[in-house]
């Protein structure tokens, strides 16, 4: 009989086996044996969050910026319930997270014990899979399998719930070469050449093509982004991206139409509406993208490439479905394309020249334009300046949720994958600050900025304390308009300007708040001081809260109003029948 090891030790052995370097967590009664064991494993660094939701978003930021799974460790009961928002967020945005939760001892399960909750029951709908480990002999294989499930196929969160007695219990059983069932969703079939040829045939026939790419390209790894760029240069087709796909293709490239969707550009949305061939690569026809489903891109043939079979045909019927990892799809497509269609780019130019003229016409609208001011800072201007002043660095951007998020997506131009971390599917206010913590942990020498709103950032502000503790010089760039801006915008457009509860009175003094946390506070109120202060922020090697006081009345345009198809966008306040003329002035 070999040496006996405890459940807690097994947890760390699997983490070591999986080369985990950082875990984000918060201790508590039911997880103490694991915390006790932490000291014996020097290669694993624990980052103490201030709230389990913060630990979860930090793990997400870590995962999305590094491509490695994020690991979080929480206690039973409230520890687990606090993690639920982050797990759901990761589930919606396909982020690989392994959450380890403590549970009350086995003999107390079901007795409403102190800090007991049905963790696997609560997290079942917001994880890819979860396990309650009732036998220490199962622990190693469950933990190991958890990593496989989280990272295979379409990535996502998993949870392993470990009762306290199991953490103490000893066994000599570690990982044996036990074969467990391959996780569902792991691809078993290869892409066929005939599918690839079909794609190429459809591309040849098209005179109005568009690539519509999403987070699947990012999730597939940096190589996929390279191949995507190659594909665009091989074909000369225009490309647009979802919110989650930004960075897979350079944002400042002339082939790029900008983001599409509810707050996407005029040219991207019109191209989606009028195209005759839509090639969806790793996006999921989300409702923020499609708008009115039955008027969505009515004249196009649609190709959908996705690693998740259930994403195909869920919202939009497609003509050609390919279940594949994006990198391997693009690899096969590009190779076949190069082998058989050497002169496509030149020979096809005339075929799509009319299409590019249409696109240029749409571009003339300059749909991201806004009226700048020299009196107040316009939020779009603030993002543009932030971009101009940080683009020379390899900058990582996270956001909260709301108007500032859309302005960041519109005006910050990304040219590398894994540089843009935002909560798209779940739309979690309070995501950006803890995510920035995780991003900075994974990328210690890089510039990490959370473009935030003052309402969102207050939801997880406590994580500034984490940033200070670990010397993580994150920059919290708050576009402070004193409103829940997107709520206010919807109330203006849909609820007759009844700004019910969307104004935050009694906001804190963010500069003093920063100082209270032990970081640096900066405030900018006038457009002419903005550049200097942004430069100052970037130069400081400490966490910074930047209070950028912006025009409280600005709305986020362009937008597709509710129930309208893509070609009926609102371009600005003067462009609209729904915003009545009375009450341009807000409360």
């Amino acid at each position: 009989m070999g040496k006996l090891i405890s459940g807690a030790e097994i947890v760390f052995k699997v983490l070591e086996h999986r080369k985990v370097e950082h875990i984000f967590g918060y201790p508590g009664g039911a997880v103490l044996p694991i915390y006790d064991e932490l000291k014996n494993h020097k290669t694993i660094k624990h980052i103490l969050a201030r709230h389990e939701q913060g630990a979860g978003h930090a793990a997400e930021g870590y995962a999305r910026s590094s491509g490695k799974p994020g690991v979080m460790l929480v206690t039973s009961g409230p520890g687990a319930t606090n993690a639920v928002t982050a797990l759901t967020d990761a589930y919606m945005d396909s982020v690989p997270i392994v959450c380890i939760s403590g549970q009350v001892p086995t003999h107390l399960i079901g007795t409403d014990a102190f800090q007991e909750c049905d963790t696997t029951g609560i997290t079942r709908p917001c994880t890819k899979h979860n396990w309650l480990v009732k036998d220490v002999n199962d622990l190693a294989s469950v933990m190991d399998q958890a990593f496989d499930v989280a990272t295979s196929g379409r990535p996502g969160p998993v949870l392993v719930d470990i009762p306290k007695d199991i953490q103490f219990k000893k066994t000599n059983f570690f990982l044996k070469n036990k074969k467990y069932k391959k996780p569902n969703g792991e691809l078993r079939s290869k892409i066929s050449n005939s599918d690839i040829d079909k794609v190429i045939q459809m591309m040849k026939k098209s005179s109005k093509p568009v690539f519509y790419t999403g987070g699947g390209v990012i999730n597939s790894g940096p190589e996929a982004s390279k191949l995507l760029r190659e594909l665009v240069s091989l074909t000369g087709f225009p490309i647009t991206s979802t919110l989650q796909g930004l960075g897979a293709y350079p944002g400042d490239d002339p082939m790029f139409l900008g983001m599409l969707g509810m707050h996407g550009t005029y040219e991207a949305n019109n191209a989606m509406h009028d195209c005759d061939l839509m090639i969806n690569i790793g996006a999921r026809f989300d409702d923020r993208i499609t708008g009115k489903v039955d008027e969505f891109s009515p004249k196009s043939k649609k190709i959908h490439v996705d690693i998740d079979p259930s994403s195909i045909g869920k919202n939009i019927k497609v003509d050609l479905a390919i279940v594949s990892d994006i990198e391997s799809f693009l690899k096969s497509l590009n190779k076949r394309f190069k082998d058989k269609n050497k002169d496509f780019l030149n020979s096809n130019k005339s075929n799509t020249s009319k299409w590019w003229k249409d696109i240029d016409k749409w571009r003339q609208k300059k749909s991201l334009g806004f009226k700048n001011s020299n009196q107040v800072i316009k939020p779009q201007h603030a993002v543009q300046r932030l971009y101009e002043l940080s683009k020379h660095k390899d900058t990582y951007i996270t956001t909260e949720v709301g108007q500032h998020q859309m302005w960041a997506a519109q005006h910050y131009k990304f040219n590398k994958p894994n540089r843009w971390m935002t909560s798209g599917g779940l739309g979690t206010m309070g995501y950006g600050l803890p995510a920035a913590v995780g991003v900075q942990v994974a990328n210690p020498d890089k510039l990490v900025i959370d473009i935030a709103g003052e309402a969102s950032v207050l939801m997880t502000m406590q994580e500034m304390s984490t940033a200070v503790q670990y010397n993580l010089p994150i920059k919290i760039f708050i576009l402070n308009n004193q409103y829940m801006g997107m709520v206010r915008q919807w109330q203006e457009l849909l609820h007759e300007k009844n700004y019910s509860e969307s104004y935050t009175a009694a906001l804190p003094d963010f500069v003093k708040l920063a100082e209270a946390y032990g970081c640096v506070g900066i405030q900018a109120k006038k457009p002419d001081e903005l550049d200097e202060k942004i430069k100052e922020m970037i130069a400081i090697n400490k966490p910074v809260i930047f209070d950028c006081v912006v025009d409280p009345n600005e709305n986020c345009f362009p937008m597709i109003p509710s129930g309208k198809p893509h070609n009926q966008m609102l371009l600005g306040p003067e462009d609209d029948e729904e915003i009545s003329s009375e009450g341009k002035v807000l409360v």
Binding site: H129, K292, P309, G563
Partner: protein, 182 residues
């Protein structure tokens, strides 16, 4: 009427609702049924009936037979979503009226009445392979196997004859002939 303004798009017309039988092979482990049933409630799918039991002790495999209804798009989503669950091995999907498939429900029927009515009740059950499982001088318990709608009708017909208690299983299904679902 003008549709209310909303941040979400309005519902659109869906395809014709069909009835389907899903047969799902799963690992017989704690919580597996909750995962399957939770998927249906969470995504707003229907469950008309459900039958589940272990079919292979050694491999710890259970077989779930589930009757559901939905538009063709919904049915295809149900199948794809089920196939993503970790303990699911395979999913078979049959149209309710597929001639290649056999379906059976089982029911236990307790009739409490006089002898004349009881024997009349037995007669009514004759078509459905009745087995008398219990008898007393006041009552009889009959087991029948039949299709759901046949049992529905039978239950109705037995009511005047003193039907006091009904216990039914959900449908179970199997392919005809030598073929098995891989």
């Amino acid at each position: 009427m003008k549709a209310p303004k909303s941040a979400y798009s309005a519902a659109i017309k869906t395809g014709k609702v069909e009835k389907h039988i899903m047969v799902i092979w799963v690992d017989n482990e704690a919580g597996v049924l909750a995962r399957v049933v939770g998927l249906f409630s969470g995504r707003g799918y229907n469950i008309e009936s459900l039958a589940v039991a272990e079919i292979d002790k050694k491999q710890k495999l259970s077989r779930i037979t589930l009757v559901t209804s939905g538009s063709p798009e919904v049915i295809s989503q149900i199948k794809k979503q089920l196939e993503k669950l970790v303990p699911v091995h395979k999913v078979a999907d049959f149209m309710r009226n597929d001639p290649k498939i056999i379906f059976r429900d089982m029911a236990l029927l307790k009739v409490i009445s006089n002898e004349k009515k009881r024997s009349k009740a037995k007669k009514l059950c004759k078509k459905f392979d009745p087995v008398v499982l219990d008898k007393s001088n006041k009552s009889i318990v009959i087991q029948v196997t039949a299709l759901r709608r046949e049992i529905d009708k039978l239950v109705n017909d037995l009511k005047p004859l003193g039907l006091a208690s009904v216990s039914r299983t959900g449908a179970v299904a199997m392919t005809r002939g030598a073929e098995i679902f891989k």
